[in-house]
Symmetry: C2
Amino acid sequence: MQRNGVMECTACRSRLVAPSPRSVSRAYDKHHNKITSKFRALKFLLVVGDCMLVGLQPILVFMSKVDGKFQFSPISVNFLTEVAKVIFAIVMLIIQSRKQKVGEKPLLARSTLIQAARNNVLLAVPALLYAINNYLKFIMQLYFNPSTVKMLSNLKVLVIAVLLKFIMRRRFSVIQWEALALLLIGISINQLRTAPAGDTAFGLPITAIAYIYTLIFVTVPSLASVYNEYAMKSQDTSIYLQNLFLYGYGAIFNFLGILGTALFQGPENFNILQGHSRATMFLICNNAAQGILSSFFFKYADTILKKYSSTVATIFTGLASAAFLGHTLTINFLLGISVVFISMHQFFSPIAKVKGDKPGELLELQDTQNHRHLILLL
Amino acid sequence: MQRNGVMECTACRSRLVAPSPRSVSRAYDKHHNKITSKFRALKFLLVVGDCMLVGLQPILVFMSKVDGKFQFSPISVNFLTEVAKVIFAIVMLIIQSRKQKVGEKPLLARSTLIQAARNNVLLAVPALLYAINNYLKFIMQLYFNPSTVKMLSNLKVLVIAVLLKFIMRRRFSVIQWEALALLLIGISINQLRTAPAGDTAFGLPITAIAYIYTLIFVTVPSLASVYNEYAMKSQDTSIYLQNLFLYGYGAIFNFLGILGTALFQGPENFNILQGHSRATMFLICNNAAQGILSSFFFKYADTILKKYSSTVATIFTGLASAAFLGHTLTINFLLGISVVFISMHQFFSPIAKVKGDKPGELLELQDTQNHRHLILLL
């Protein structure tokens, strides 16, 4: 963070005189190539992994159904997913702590854990928002039909961008705003076909309550993602520790949710493992893996790349089902994916980049005592 | 035209040593502001006029029908339109020649006319292509249903851009190419609704002849427009004289077409005025006015601005019919016009402009003898 020419290191809270733009740029250039190519490889792996997991999802959902219906309570899936993520975080923490060199702060020491827990208390916010969102999804289906819900979900892209602008102080160029609008439009065009025939007229119910629910439905998960990105990036804690807290909070909030429904709707909701099969376990593992990948997106890339990645995954699923299952490609789909690809090219095109420093990027600087500092450009 | 550092004035064929980039830019800057604001006002008027005429079209078509059918031969409309345009050109020529100052080359002198006719022989090419296109429109309807024809027509935008690149040597930036693709996609999305329900699958007939007809159907009118722009801009003849030749050639080719059909299909096709009413006369005048406006577009603006202008006109017609006739706006329409407006903003955005000189623009230079030369940047 930079205030009046003084920067504070997010790791050790030491204060540094802000380097002149030139020295920043020199320090930046020095590490830039190394960091850039490493970051690029990481981002590429994130996108590929995300595409595979998102592509696997519909197959697992199909396999989890018995006679076309789910036998298990959907709330239990969220809780079990969070538990799976906590287990993964603990395993990764143990592996990482064994790999540590002598002299490094031990990851699993009591003092490290307490300090990390204190620094990352912010992660409770996205965890709570995600838990609320899981509950909202059910409510929304009371007010809108599923295809309208799907359409409204697309608005998240723009809400996320607005929140990134205000929470993360990210600047977007006009071309990038237009690219995001195009992404929203492209996804919507793709979905036009899935809407029932004749239902193409803009038939939103006009009740005030529906508008309010829409606003909440779109804002809550967007805020969760952006706040998650903010919380992950603003602390220099190891991502494995951050994951532990994030998923821990998630498990707690979801457990409270189950407890609540058990209290109000009877204790039969409390049987978490009822109706699960091997296929649903795979589904839960897939959900968990997607969640874990999200953390890496938020820490090392951003929410928008995550959105693009999911969209590309959906497109590939469509193309694959056309190639292998003989589904016909509709003209909607072809027009929609063209818009999405143009949008993607424009968003990441160098010409669209805002000039100046890149907010949201991590800058690695060395001070006079040769301590390394990671500085988040805000 | 510039070859090996020597430029030839397109008006008087005198050769000039090409000015250094700096002196071009100085000469350019000097006239730039004056020319730019004049051109901008002209372009604005062109777009507004075009929007009004295109918007009036469906009303006049509706009024021209008797019991839902046309009573007149469609070929006769083309011929009568060309005749109306010739009359307009002559009237304008007479008005212009009366306004001429002493010492100016008289517009209606025999020598001026002969030289202009010789210089503008190129205009016969677009006139012939337009006449062929009018005939092709009928043939296309044998192979495709009207909504497919409408969809295929959208491809013209891209074909025009490719032709502008190769004939007019216009350079487009990547963003501009993407903007043109978006225009094509936006118009197509608008039209999805007009396709009969269930017909959204990409159902083109796969016969080779259909592909060839499509290629011709899309290329001929695009080539006509681009060649028209080239012919209008490459000669420094007064636009009123150029119009006279363009429309004259048009009338001749259309008359030959009528003569041909009369020969092959019997003399009843020769009765040009049969079945016309006052409404059809208005329709013909509207067609003629659109044609005349096109010439001004080609001379002072370009084919792409014309395309955008027509698209905006269609959008306003849709919005107006929603506002006044209570038609519901479909979600297709809303998504489509969003894409079109983003495309338009991107195409004309300064960030999308190709750096360097602007091909296709007219440069006004003075030589050492203080003669003014108009040079077309190629």
